[in-house]
């Protein structure tokens, strides 16, 4: 079986051998990934259809502009770049694990599987931070009744519409209730406790003056579908990452126990690798559709 080059004219379909020259397990992994590609493709195309059907979709540079521990600094694309590089790097460590498997190097497989698992866990941590940031975020948006509210980004609410003009802002502030004005004023102080009590005791006009002179970015509400698509598709991808991490942990344990060494080959690492690279592949497209364009 030392053959490396495939002779031309090999008759693949005469029986007795796989016409695809791979084991049953591997060919089925490929077909599973192909069907999964259609599932993700359908989700992303559905998202694209809805996005094309409205006038103002949320601007990704406005929605995804924060970074952990950077406060309210405006850093578009920064955090998602970090997530992308984490996933690319864990793809490299995975393919290195497969390579070590080909050399029957047990220690090498273990080392690179651990690195891959760490990469996957780091990605999931980033995603958890990003979701929390959006779900608990405070963004001032004008509802259709003309009043301002402090809204997070959820599957039911999307505060990321067009910016309000100065006149729209002045009009909306006059209509907004005292309770909401206090809530908006509090977003200016970013949670300083004594400032909160102070805001509640101010009159409406004082609050309006305070808000109008601040650099607040109030917007119209945006298409509600944004949250559902964002959390739905990144969630489905994140679930794939999670199951990939679990599969990789199982593969690491089986390597450690010497199962593959006894078997004489590390093909299971290759199959887990196919799944892991697919997860990276999907992220390449999620990254394109949600963050870049």
């Amino acid at each position: 079986m030392g053959s490396t080059a495939i002779p031309t004219g090999t008759k693949w379909w005469t029986g007795g051998k796989s016409p695809f020259n791979v084991s049953y397990g591997k060919v089925m992994m490929w077909y599973f990934l192909m069907s999964d590609a259609f599932t993700f493709g359908a989700f992303l195309i559905s998202y694209g259809t809805i996005r094309f059907s409205v006038n103002n979709w949320a601007d990704p540079n406005q929605v995804f502009n924060s970074f952990p521990f950077a406060g309210h600094a405006n850093l578009p694309l920064a955090f998602v770049s970090l997530m992308t590089f984490i996933l690319i790097f864990s793809s490299v460590t995975m393919v290195l694990a497969v390579h070590e498997g080909h050399q029957m190097n047990k220690k090498g497989v273990e080392k690179f599987m651990i690195l891959t698992i760490i990469g996957g866990a780091a990605f999931l941590g980033c995603q958890a931070w990003e979701w929390t940031h959006l779900l608990t975020g405070e963004h001032v948006a004008m509802l259709n009744d003309g009043t301002l509210s402090v809204l997070p980004t959820t599957v039911k609410m999307n505060p990321w519409g067009e910016a309000l003009s100065q006149t729209e802002m002045v009009k909306a502030l006059q209509k907004t209730s005292h309770e909401q004005l206090v809530a908006i004023a509090n977003t200016l102080h970013h949670g300083a406790e004594n400032a909160h009590h102070a805001a509640a005791s101010l009159t409406n006009q004082d609050l309006i003056n305070q808000i109008a002179t601040s650099e607040i970015h109030a917007t119209h509400t945006g298409p509600i579908a944004f949250g559902g698509y964002f959390f739905g598709i990144t969630g489905f991808h994140g679930f794939h990452v999670l199951s990939g991490v679990v599969i990789n942990i199982v593969m690491y344990i089986k390597t450690k126990l010497g199962h593959f060494e006894q078997r004489g080959h590390y093909e299971m690492i290759e199959k887990a690798g196919l799944y892991w690279h697919f997860v990276d592949l999907v992220w390449v497209f999620v990254f394109l559709c949600f963050y870049l364009v």
Binding site: M1, T10, N21, S46, G48, S53, H99
Partner: protein, 141 residues
Amino acid sequence: MSAQHFENPEVTFQPDHSGGTKKIWKIFWVLSALTIIELALGYFLYLKHGQLGDAVVLSTKIVIGILTLAKAYYIVSVFMHLGDEVRNLIMTIIVPLVLFVWFIIAFLADGNSWKNLRNTRGKSRTYQTEEVSKEAVESHK
């Protein structure tokens, strides 16, 4: 460290795995470079937001899309080793995916047509962003 051997009777030929990790690292740098170019173009669109013509924005986005397809090609071909497999397997994976060409064109055109109907020719209702329900806002507080 003896080379591994498969006992699968259906596998006729083993691809050559004796090579080093040079190619893997090369592809890592290629993927990183493509990602950095994508990010630069995305940042360019952000900086020039509202100042560029529709055609420039659209063509920049198309370039980013093509770079993404290049990344996908490298991941599938090298990291997933599909490029080392026999042609029969490559075709059975790639050919069905060609459906996406029709899928994307048809659905995006459909979405665009909805927008045009609502904005211009429909006239049955004026374009308005869906309302965030009061209950949703209340339940959040």
